[in-house]
């Protein structure tokens, strides 16, 4: 979706290095989410944000941190990448209130070697 850009699209990194994935939105949506997708597990929530500087943990948050200093950007950081963090990472956004759909990014494929 043109409203969300994830960068990079692909990345290979070495074990123990820090990695930051970026999600940029032009939708002015309040809510932003980071998911990881692994075979046999579906999409699992890592962290989410419900406003600038307001973030909380999801079900698989260990080893990850996030930051949201402005509405349009939500960063996911792997402080010290491990092979278990090899995955496809999706960002999603949602507008506040009522029923509104979710907008998903195209995903970042991260390989930790």
């Amino acid at each position: 979706d043109a409203g969300i850009t994830q960068s990079p699209r692909h990345k290979v990194t070495e074990t123990g290095t820090p990695v930051t994935l970026r999600c940029h939105q032009t939708e002015n949506h309040r809510y932003m989410y980071w998911y990881r997708q692994d075979p046999g597990h579906g999409l699992r929530l890592i962290h989410y944000s419900y406003g600038v500087k307001d973030t909380d943990k999801g079900e698989v948050s260990d080893g990850y941190s996030v930051s949201r200093s402005k509405t349009e950007d939500f960063l996911l950081t792997l402080e010290s990448a491990t092979s278990s963090q090899t995955s496809v990472y999706f960002c999603a956004t949602r507008q506040d209130g009522g029923y509104y759909g979710y907008t998903f990014g195209s995903g970042t494929r991260l390989t930790v070697v």
């Binding site: 989410y33 579906g42 699992r44 999706f90 999603a92 506040d96 209130g97 759909g101 979710y102 195209s106």
Partner: protein, 117 residues
């Protein structure tokens, strides 16, 4: 915590025939939303259909329809007149009611649908 279960890791269907994908969920809430998403090889997440729990009528979108059984906590997706372009991974997802849940989506593990010509 809510859980979503898709018991069929893989399904196959002949072109032009009908297939049903199963989804069950566990929740203590009375008001919520349910979704089916399609993920083709391009990785893009595409909303197929959604259902509001307070609505008794099953949602329909062209060839896609759901069988929503609230008491049984079941939400199956029926694809009629299957087409080759329907081949994809399908995810069932749950969202709790109101802002207190922060509108988080909980996904099942997915069902990989193959369409045979």
């Amino acid at each position: 915590a809510q859980t979503v279960t898709q018991s069929q890791p893989e399904m196959s269907v002949q072109e032009a025939e009908t297939v049903t994908l199963s989804c069950t969920y566990d929740t203590s809430e009375s008001d919520y939303y349910l979704f089916w998403y399609k993920q083709p090889p391009s990785r893009q997440m595409i909303l197929v259909i959604r259902q509001e729990a307070y609505k008794q009528q099953n949602a329909t979108e062209n060839r896609f329809s759901v069988n929503f059984q609230k008491a049984a906590k079941s939400f199956s997706l029926k694809i009629s007149d299957s087409q080759l372009g329907d081949a994809a991974m399908y995810f069932c997802a749950y969202r709790g009611s109101g802002g207190g849940s922060n509108y988080k989506l909980t996904f099942g593990k997915g069902t990989l649908l193959t369409v045979n010509p």
